[in-house]
């Protein structure tokens, strides 16, 4: 018996809805097998991962905090990936966004007032966008592969931020720990509710999702994104410019990654330190695809991935499961999502092995 993939005459509408759920189901099964092999009770482990965090208000808030940067970055990446611009460097754009925004509190620490916070956020977006502009211009001018350049720039950004917080920007009163001075209150993104941890970044994420959804599905710009991503030649016939699109997509996704970075700096850490790079920029790639490059789907996917992060922490504390298991989970999830998408265009058929073809 061999398994054959047979192309469907038309894409299956049912399976394009079901596919993420099939992927989720397969991930759970594979996860259960993994936990059994680790010698843990798989049901308890899955419960700890996916249910327990939802039962407690504090962990629920943590999920929102984790999901915020993922959703912000991923909704920008949706524009890139839909237009076939493979921006893998959102982590770097996130870091530089945080760094750009931090410039104002670092150099004008005493400055306070209403204007400070919006200015910081805008600086963050500009920083992320400028950093994304580098691979964009390299691609559109010189035909450089944006996957390589955007990825390599992540490491540059990490070193740059690390050097700043240990060198010129280090807080002299910080007992030698890397990090800038704490921002004054005007430069801090306020929490969503009294004495909460979740900051206004979460609101930005929701706004970003709605705006990106509208742009991508209802406007000519969104149509241009899809056309150029599907078929650049047809895009040219439509009068669209794929080089300009490359720049546009990178600027949008860079700006949103930068906003995620500065929201994290100003809302959570309240200073720039060496702990900003947590891999959100990479995890957001999973979120973008899990959400099928649709901002509304990304909102859900971001929450699910954040849940797996928090669940992973819980499992580490209560069951002694390594946090590496969380990464394996995310890898499995992405793998199954991409694999399940095959079902939209193909159906699986079992067939008896064909006689060997002559001459081959």
């Amino acid at each position: 018996m061999i398994i054959q993939l047979e192309k469907r005459p038309q894409r299956s509408a049912l399976l394009s809805i079901l596919s993420p759920f099939i992927a989720l189901g397969l991930t759970l099964v594979a996860g259960a097998i993994m936990f059994s092999l680790l010698g843990k009770n798989p049901f308890q482990a899955l419960y700890t991962y996916f249910v327990q965090p939802l039962t407690d208000p504090w962990t629920r808030e943590q999920i929102i905090i984790k999901a915020t940067p993922l959703i912000l970055i991923a909704s920008g990446l949706a524009v890139c990936f839909r237009s076939s611009n493979w921006n893998i460097g959102a982590e770097g754009q996130y870091l530089i966004g945080g760094m750009f925004g931090a410039m104002i509190p670092v150099y004008f620490n005493e400055w306070s007032g209403f204007a400070v916070l919006p200015l910081i956020l805008i600086m963050g977006m500009i920083g992320g966008a400028l950093y994304a502009f580098i691979p964009a211009i390299l691609k559109s001018r010189f035909g450089t592969n944006e996957i390589l350049t955007s990825l390599m720039l992540v490491y540059v950004a990490q070193q740059l931020v690390d050097w700043l917080v240990r060198g010129p920007w280090r807080n002299p009163q910080g007992f030698g720990f890397p990090g800038t001075k704490e921002f004054n209150d005007s430069a801090v993104l306020p929490p969503l509710w009294e004495s909460g941890d979740a900051h206004y970044g979460a609101a930005f994420a929701v706004v970003a999702v709605i705006v990106m959804w509208f742009v991508l599905s209802r406007t000519l710009k969104g149509f241009e994104v899809t056309v150029l991503g599907e078929s650049p030649r047809a895009g040219r016939f439509a009068g669209f410019d794929s080089k300009k699109m490359t720049v546009f997509a990178f600027l949008v996704s860079g700006a949103l990654a930068g906003l995620a970075g500065i929201a994290e700096v100003s809302g959570s850490a309240e200073k720039l330190d060496d702990k900003l790079s947590l891999g959100y920029g990479f995890a957001a790639i999973i979120v973008a695809f899990l959400g099928r490059l649709n901002p509304l789907g990304i909102l859900a996917a971001g929450l699910i991935l954040a849940l797996s992060y928090i669940g992973g922490e819980e499992a580490q504390i209560s069951m002694g499961i390594s946090d590496r298991a969380t990464r394996v989970f995310q890898g499995l999830l992405l793998f199954f999502v991409l694999a399940s998408d095959t079902l939209i265009h193909y159906k699986i058929k079992l067939a008896r092995r064909l006689p060997a073809a002559g001459g081959a």
Partner: protein, 523 residues
Amino acid sequence: MAQDSANIAGEGGVLLTASGITKIFGELKANDNVDLTVNKGEIHALLGENGAGKSTLVKILFGSLQPTEGQIEWEGRAVTIPSPGAARTLGIGMVFQHFSLFDALTVAENIALSLGSNTPIDEIGEAARKLSNEYGLPLDPDAHVGDLSVGERQRIEIIRCLLQDPALIILDEPTSVLTPQEADKLFETLERLAGEGRSILYISHRLEEVQRLCSRATILRHGRVVDACDPRDETAASLASKMVGEEIDVVHREGTSSAESDILLSVQNLSMSFENPFSVALKEISLDVRAGEIIGIAGVAGNGQSEFFNAVSGEDVHESADSVSILGTKAGRMDISQRRNLGAAFVPEERLGHGAVPTLSLSDNLLLARHACEDDGFTSGGLKTISARSVRSRSEKIIKDMDVRMSGVNPPANALSGGNLQKFIVGRELDREPRVLVVNQPTWGVDAGAAAKIRQALIDLAERGSAIVVISQDLDEIFEVSDRIAVMADGRLSAPEAASGMTRERIGLLMAGMDGAAGGAAA
């Protein structure tokens, strides 16, 4: 079912009999109880519209599909053909309409890939060279496929097939890419192959060719055999009506332009070269197209037609504004959207991937070409919000006007047959009533019924006072629609001459290059 028994005896027996072949896809009967007999040494035509079931039948014979019901007999012995490999082993070879060749590899390497044997490439190259000279289809085994003309690429496919010494050769629309002279050469080769006792199953929609070449024809319609006849006893019109099942409208042309009518499209001294090494540079092209006239541009593929199309449409923008004028406005430096807004419309050669995005719906593909046309009002506001409803209703109107047949509501472009998608793409532009229309290969790979409809629509548009350029490799089409004919060869365009004074021979000579430099495609 009607078999012409007089012919069966003649050529030395039956090679292949397919009887009662039925193939069901879901609810569609692509083949319904089809009978086909191919005799040894005959050239047998398989005729039918797009979607008539020709490809399905041929795929079954070549082993890429399995019949739901029915038997195949090969030299009197019942056989099953489970795979193309098995078909080759039996002695069935096939030359596909769309070539499966790698541009970056040499001829010999491409052949070696398909043979899949361990024979050294040099030996394969030598064998190919020998065989190609023997059959008068000269081929350089060391040439890179990317540098070759379409005709030469087809030779590779034919030689590749002949190297396996087949008893039956299936050819799918082989002449659609050839000059008349090249086609003549191919016919000689085919006749020679038939003379050697090989059988040829010849799929074509060009009826004159079939009449010239084939001694028997099987005609399919909606998956059934409607007739088996000797095409030489028929007229082109009677064959066509058997294929379509109704009388085909004869395309009717009345010249309406005169030397006094306005020049709507003017190309002046257009020269352009490209970075892409496979592109043909355009050399000092000048052309005036007047209101009410259709200019046909003939030429073998790859002589600069696509480059010319792109330069006129504005996909490639020229540095001089004077090079292209549309309705008197200098448009050489305008992009395609601005040129559309001047009243021009364009239909490119490739349907999927150039004229339409394969995965997007028809209404999205309408928006593709019309979003920038101000008077359509498909988008509104500073954000250019798309009015999905007006796009949908307009696309439904086009579907109705052009009789586009499809399954489902607003399906993606790649779910339509070639002819139906082409009707939509042409209809999308005609619906705007453009004053200037430039079409590249309007009926390439389109069935006879759809082709007649498209040609008539172009003629009607010209009679309403638009200026039309039809770029085509199909000389029948050129003669059918054109008032004046020009020929493109190696990036140059001959001066247009009145269609009434043109002959195929003269066009053939012009195709070979006015200055005698035959066929050399300089990059």
